[in-house]
C-alpha cells in the first residue's frame, strides 16, 4: 500500500509540473494571437490615445512576464481574475457553465461507460457472430458521422417526430435535477454515441487478446462457462487498457463538446471559450484552458492509478 501512496505523490507532482508547463504554453500562445481586447472593444476608429488609456486601465501595458506571474499568482491563491471585457470576476462568469459542462459530461459518462464495457463484453462473448458484427457496425457508424449531424438526427427523431425531448437544452439556474436530466438527455445521448465506439472496441480487443492465454484455457478446462471466463477470469486482467481509453474519452466529454453545445444551445464551457477567443477576452481564455488541462491531467492520473491498482504484480510486490 505504501508503494501506491508513494506512486500517487510522484504522479501528482508530475501532474502539477505538467500543469505549470501547460500554463506557460497557454499564456505564450495567447500572446501570439493578433489583435487585443482594446482594439476589439473600441473598434477600428479608436485613437491611439484611447487605446493606450484602455490598455493601461486593464494592465495590458505591463510586460508579458509580469502579467503571467500576476495571473499565475492569483490562480494559485484561488483568485481567477476578472474578465477583460465585462470586468466581472471570472469565477462568477464560469462557475455556472463549468457545472453545466461537468453535469453533461457526467450524464453522458454514466450512460456511455457501462454501455461501452457491456457491449465490449458481449461482442467478445459472441465474437465473429452476427451480434458482434452488428455492434461493431453500429458503433463505428456512430463515430463516422460528424457530431453535429448525429445531434440533428436525434433532434429530428426525438424532438420533432416523437416529441419526447426538447430540442434545445437551455437551463434555468433553479432547474430541478429531473428537469435537468430531461433537458440534457439529447446532448448526452449524442455524446454517448460519439464516445462509445472507442471504449467498446478497446474492451472487446483487450478481452479477445486475453482469451488466447494459458490461464484462460486453464479456466475453461476447469469447467468455467464462456460468460464466467470473460467476466470473472479475463475482465480483471483487461482493466488497465480499458481504463486508459475511458479516461481519454471522459476528458473528451469535457473538453471537446463545443459543437454539441452549439447544436443544443447548451450553456457550457465550450461555448464560452469560443466566444472569449473571438472577443479577445484573454483572461477568460487562459483560465478556461488551464481548468481543462487540469481536468485532463487528473483523469490521466486517476487512470494510471487504477491501472496499477488492478495489477497484483505492482500492488503486491514479492
Amino acid at each position: 500500500m505504501h508503494y501506491l501512496i508513494k506512486l500517487f505523490i510522484q504522479r501528482l507532482a508530475l501532474g502539477l509540473l505538467t500543469l505549470f508547463v501547460v500554463s506557460l504554453v497557454i499564456f505564450l500562445s495567447i500572446e501570439l494571437l493578433p489583435g487585443d481586447v482594446a482594439q476589439q472593444v473600441l473598434g477600428q476608429s479608436a485613437t491611439p490615445e484611447n487605446l493606450a488609456a484602455f490598455r493601461r486601465e486593464l494592465g495590458l501595458d505591463q510586460p508579458a512576464h509580469s502579467r503571467y506571474l500576476e495571473w499565475l499568482g492569483g490562480f494559485l491563491q484561488g483568485d481567477l481574475g476578472n474578465s477583460l471585457i465585462s470586468g466581472i470576476p471570472i469565477w462568477d462568469l464560469i462557475s455556472e457553465r463549468l457545472y453545466n459542462t461537468f453535469f453533461l459530461a457526467g450524464f453522458a459518462a454514466l450512460i456511455s461507460v457501462p454501455l461501452a464495457v457491456l457491449l465490449g463484453v458481449v461482442a467478445a462473448l459472441y465474437r465473429d457472430t452476427l451480434l458482434d458484427k452488428s455492434i461493431n457496425v453500429a458503433t463505428l457508424t456512430a463515430i463516422s458521422v460528424p457530431e453535429f449531424f448525429v445531434g440533428y438526427i436525434l433532434v429530428w427523431l426525438f424532438a420533432v417526430e416523437l416529441g419526447l425531448f426538447p430540442s434545445i437544452a437551455n437551463l434555468s439556474d433553479d432547474a430541478s435535477l429531473s428537469d435537468r436530466l430531461y433537458r440534457t438527455f439529447l446532448p448526452a445521448l449524442t455524446l454517448t454515441l460519439i464516445v462509445t465506439a472507442h471504449m467498446m472496441r478497446m474492451t472487446r480487443a483487450s478481452l479477445i487478446n486475453l482469451l488466447a492465454l494459458p490461464y484462460i484455457e486453464m479456466a475453461r478446462l476447469k469447467g468455467a462457462s464462456q460468460r464466467r471466463l470473460i467476466v470473472i477470469h479475463a475482465l480483471p486482467n483487461a482493466i488497465a487498457p480499458i481504463v486508459t481509453v475511458i479516461a481519454i474519452n471522459l476528458a473528451y466529454l469535457i473538453v471537446g463538446v463545443v459543437i454539441v453545445e452549439v447544436v443544443f444551445v447548451y450553456p457550457g464551457m465550450g461555448q464560452l471559450l469560443v466566444d472569449s477567443v473571438a472577443k479577445r477576452d484573454f483572461t477568460v481564455v487562459q483560465t478556461s484552458c488551464l481548468l481543462f488541462s487540469a481536468t485532463y491531467i487528473l483523469f490521466n492520473l486517476a487512470s494510471d492509478l487504477i491501472s496499477i491498482a488492478s495489477n497484483p504484480r505492482l500492488l503486491h510486490r514479492k
Binding site: A212, L213, P214, Y215, E217, M218, A219, R220, L221, K222, G223, A224, S225, H233, P236, N237, S310, N311, P312, R313, H316, K318
Partner: protein, 551 residues
C-alpha cells in the same frame, strides 16, 4: 485390469483435425487407448506428435481451430465428443482435471492461488468455501509446499515456478477427480526442482488412486511416472506396452531410435599445451546490473581455447547467460578483465573494433525469434559476410552456398527461402550459419538445443562438432542439460547464484568427489531406470538422516 468395471476412459479411433491455411488437416489420426481406474498412462513423442491434443481430447476439449472429426472418447460411459457443453463442463474439475505445462502462465495473475484452487469445488457444491480452503491447505502440506498455511494467499507472481507447479497439482486434486491429465508438468523446470515436483505428483496420485495421463517428451521422466507407455508419432500410435517392457524391449524402430538418442559423444581431444593462448579469457569478472544491490556475476574466470568446448551448466538464474552477455560487452564488468588472444577487450561492445566483434559470435536458444522473418536465408547469412568480411557479388554468393553446404542444407533449395519455410532444426542450422558467416574464433551457444526434439538436437550437436573440427572453433556451450554436457564438453564450469561452484576437465567434474551442488545437480538428472526416482529419494532421505545424526 481392463474389464468393464475398472475401465475409466476408453478412447476409440480418435481423430482430431486442425485448421491450417483454410484447410482441415488431421492432427490425430485414429488413436485408441484405455485407462483403468488408478492407472497412469504415459504419452510420449516429439513435438507435433499430437500428445497434448490427445490429452485435451480425453477431456472432451479441442483448442480453437481444431475439431473432433471421428471416433469416440468414452469417460465413465459418456461419449465426450458427442456430449453437450453443459455435460462436459460439469465433468471438469469434479471428475477430470488438467495440469498445464507452464504453471506460471496458467494461473490467473489477478487472483490469489487459493481462490483459484477452491473456485470450482465451491461452485459445483463439492464443499463449502471454508472446507475447500482447509482442504487446499492440507493438499499444499501434502505436496510439501513451504508455509502451507500461508502460501495459498499469495498471488502467482509471488511464488516460484516449482512451487506453482505443485500448487497446480494441488488445484487439480481439489475435487478429488477420477482422472488428471498432466501435460508436460515439469518441462519448464530445472532438474533439481523437477525431482521434487515428480515425487510430489507421484505420491499424491498414488494416495488418492487417481488415474492419470502423463504427457512428456522426456523418456526418463515417463519411466518414473507411468504404469504403461504409449509412443506417438505424427498423430499415430507407434506402440504401447507396460513401462518395463517398453524400456527393455521396444519393438518398433522409431521407439528404438528414441531410446538410443543419447548415444552421441564427441571424441576426446588432447590436453591444451602449456603455452597455448586462449581465444578469449575472463579474469575475475564481476558484473552488476545498475538497479540491483548485489552483483549478478561474482569473480568469474574461464578460458576458451581453439578447437575446444567449455560447457557452462547451472539452473535458471545461475548466471550462465549473464556470463555470455558480459563477455559480449552487453553487460560491462565492474571489475576484472576480458582478453581476446591475450589482448584486453573494451568492456563495452560499442567501444570494440569490427575485427574484435567479428571474433565472437552467438547462436541463440529460440531460432524462431532470432531470425528476421522477413529476410531470405541468403540475406540472413550474407549480411554478416558483407559487414565483417566485405564480401560482395559473386564471392558473396559462392561463400553463402559453401556455408549452406557446410550446415548440410542444399544451397539451391534453401538460398531463397524465408525462415517460416523451415523446420525448427533447420532454423537452428541457419542460426549456426549466421554465426559462422563472420568467420569467428569463439562461438557462444546459448541453450541451442533446448527447444529442439531429442533426435533433432542430436543432429545439431553432431553438426557443431563437425564444424568445430573443420574451423578449429572455440565453443562456449551454455546449457542446463547434463546429457548434452556429457556429449560435447571438454571442460565444464558449474555455476550457481552467479558464482562458479566447480570447474575443470569433463572427466574430473563427472567423477566423484564433487562439490555438493554439482552432486545435487548430477543426481537430479532423471535416468531411464524406472526405480531411479525411488533410489534418489531414498538416498536423499538417508543422507539427510545421517546429517541429522552427525549434528
Amino acid at each position: 485390469m481392463t474389464n468393464q468395471d475398472t475401465q475409466l476412459l476408453k478412447v476409440q479411433n480418435l481423430q482430431i483435425e486442425g485448421l491450417s491455411e483454410d484447410r482441415w488437416k488431421p492432427i490425430v489420426k485414429g488413436v485408441d487407448l484405455t485407462l483403468a481406474k488408478g492407472e497412469v498412462l504415459g504419452l510420449i513423442g516429439e513435438s507435433g506428435a499430437g500428445k497434448s491434443t490427445i490429452g485435451l481430447g480425453a477431456m472432451g476439449y479441442v483448442r480453437d481451430g481444431c475439431r473432433f472429426s471421428g471416433g469416440s472418447v468414452e469417460f465413465d460411459g459418456v461419449d465426450l465428443t458427442k456430449a453437450d457443453r453443459e455435460t462436459r463442463r460439469n465433468l471438469r474439475s469434479t471428475r477430470i482435471a488438467y495440469v498445464a505445462q507452464s504453471a506460471a502462465a496458467s494461473f490467473n495473475p489477478a487472483f490469489k492461488l487459493i481462490n483459484q484452487h477452491t473456485e470450482f469445488a465451491v461452485r459445483r457444491g463439492v464443499m463449502s468455501r471454508d472446507e475447500a480452503q482447509r482442504d487446499a491447505i492440507d493438499l499444499y502440506r501434502q505436496l510439501q509446499l513451504p508455509n502451507p498455511d500461508e502460501i495459498g494467499f499469495r498471488y502467482p507472481h509471488q511464488v516460484s515456478g516449482g512451487q506453482l507447479q505443485r500448487a497446480m497439482t494441488a488445484m487439480a486434486m481439489a475435487c478429488r477427480p477420477d482422472l488428471i491429465i498432466f501435460d508436460e508438468p515439469t518441462t519448464a523446470l530445472d532438474v533439481t526442482t523437477q525431482i521434487e515436483v515428480l515425487s510430489a505428483i507421484r505420491e499424491i496420485v498414488e494416495e488418492f488412486g487417481t488415474s492419470a495421463i502423463y504427457i512428456t517428451h522426456d523418456l526418463a521422466v515417463v519411466a518414473q511416472m507411468a504404469d504403461r507407455i504409449m509412443v506417438l508419432r505424427h498423430g499415430n500410435e507407434v506402440e504401447s506396452a507396460d513401462t518395463e517392457t517398453m524400456l527393455n524391449a521396444p519393438q518398433e524402430d522409431y521407439t528404438k531410435s528414441l531410446w538410443a538418442v543419447r548415444s552421441f559423444t564427441a571424441e576426446e581431444k588432447p590436453e591444451v599445451s602449456e603455452d597455448a593462448v586462449p581465444v578469449v579469457s575472463l579474469k575475475n569478472v564481476t558484473a552488476q546490473y545498475p538497479s540491483m544491490a548485489q552483483p549478478v556475476l561474482n569473480d568469474i574466470s574461464m578460458s576458451f581455447y581453439p578447437g575446444r568446448t567449455v560447457a557452462v551448466v547451472g539452473e535458471s538464474g545461475s548466471g550462465k547467460s549473464t556470463t555470455a552477455r558480459s563477455l559480449m560487452g552487453l553487460l560491462p564488468p565492474i571489475s576484472g578483465d576480458i582478453l581476446l588472444n591475450g589482448e584486453p577487450l573494451a568492456p563495452q561492445f560499442r567501444k570494440r573494433s569490427k575485427a574484435e566483434l567479428k571474433s565472437v559470435q552467438m547462436i541463440y536458444q529460440m531460432a524462431d525469434t532470432a531470425l528476421n522473418p522477413k529476410q531470405r536465408i541468403r540475406d540472413i547469412i550474407g549480411r554478416p559476410m558483407t559487414y565483417y568480411r566485405g564480401l560482395k557479388g559473386k564471392a558473396l554468393t559462392e561463400e553463402t552456398r559453401a556455408l549452406l553446404a557446410d550446415i548440410e542444407l542444399e544451397p539451391d533449395q534453401y538460398m531463397n527461402r524465408l525462415p517460416s519455410e523451415l523446420s525448427g532444426g533447420q532454423k537452428q542450422r541457419i542460426g549456426i550459419a549466421r554465426a559462422l558467416a563472420a568467420a569467428p574464433q569463439l562461438v557462444i551457444c546459448d541453450e541451442v538445443t533446448s527447444a529442439l526434439d531429442q533426435l533433432v538436437a542430436e543432429g545439431i550437436l553432431r553438426l557443431l562438432d563437425k564444424l568445430q573440427k573443420e574451423h578449429n572453433l572455440a565453443y562456449m556451450f551454455i546449457t542446463h542439460d547434463i546429457s548434452t554436457v556429457r556429449a560435447i564438453a571438454d571442460e565444464v564450469v558449474v555455476m550457481q547464484h552467479g558464482k562458479i561452484v566447480e570447474q575443470g576437465p569433463k572427466n574430473a567434474i563427472f567423477s566423484p568427489p564433487h562439490a555438493l551442488y554439482t552432486d545435487l545437480l548430477l543426481s537430479s538428472v532423471p535416468e531411464m531406470d524406472p526405480t531411479w526416482l525411488d533410489r534418489v529419494l531414498a538416498d536423499r532421505v538417508s543422507e539427510a538422516a545421517r546429517a541429522y545424526l552427525v549434528e
